[in-house]
Symmetry: C2
Subunit: 172 residues, 2 copies
């Protein structure tokens, strides 16, 4: 069923994410100090980075361009070993009604229009939609929980996510 | 200058944000326990909420529909009393190259397709693009900082933001 709520927004790639993930093959980033993850902005947007480097963490909004098709409303995330059925809005699945991915990454440094970051679980070449500062006091919630993500298997999966490692053939 | 990086993504409003902010007039939400902020999804997407209620916090991605025009790359956020010039990507200004707003809110409860939340600094009727779970261990960064947001004036402004109160005629 299609709703008539289409918005006339034109999105553009303001840059690209660069990662070692060129296909679905597993890849294990072993050393967070090595520069294996970076974002390169279109030179036109370089001025928009002023003062961003002062933040420890940033939000990266991206378009998961290698995933396509109609988004199911119920998903079986690998987080739960495929055993659990949860709503797409209770998941971080890249296949969503509006294809916008979100990651919090540590900003290591900026050189020109290149931002070096901690691991990012997106395919190499993923278009970047936006960068925003992650602001202490506004975005860090010390009383957050993990919702339905429970048990040892889920916890292990979460640890993998935290390290930005793709798994299960999909970056979900 | 226009870049040729346009993406052929069709975005749709999956729902609407309801707040007491119907115009730019200041409004002071006084009691977080009162239900003054909620999100209503299109009924079609209701199934996608399954298990979301188990999370304490959620991300709300929205389209700041009352802001329009070309996004400047340098902005003077009210956070800094208009004194500071920072890049748009170092700000949370709603006027951005890709018009996607992001807020972390506490999820109080879900009734049908209505999600009651803590205060949200968006105008009443703002289209919702996505909801995602905010996951402890992945999204809460205890060593995050406030970047260029410093000094007493900025700190006061941050406190206002944390309470979801609009100010200065703009929700920035």
């Amino acid at each position: 069923m299609e709703t008539n709520q289409e918005l006339s927004i034109r999105l553009r790639a303001i840059g690209r994410i660069h990662t070692p993930y060129v296909d679905s093959a597993p890849y294990q980033p072993t050393d967070d100090e090595r520069d294996e993850f970076w974002i390169t902005l279109e030179p036109h947007y370089g001025e928009g980075l002023r003062e961003l480097e002062r933040f420890t963490y940033i939000y990266v909004l991206f378009y998961p361009h290698r995933v396509s098709g109609e988004a199911p409303l119920i998903v079986s995330p690998p987080w739960a070993g495929g055993r659990r059925q949860v709503g797409v809005f209770a998941s971080r699945s890249p296949l969503r009604p509006n294809p916008i991915g979100l990651s919090v990454v540590r900003l290591k440094r900026i050189e020109g229009v290149t931002l070096y970051t901690s691991p990012l679980d997106a395919y190499d070449g993923t278009p970047v939609l936006d960068l925003k500062p992650y602001i202490a006091g506004l975005d860090d919630k010390s009383d957050a929980n993990v919702g339905w993500v429970e048990g040892s298997e889920d916890a292990a999966h979460l640890a993998v996510h935290k390290r930005g490692i793709p798994h299960g053939g999909e970056l979900t």
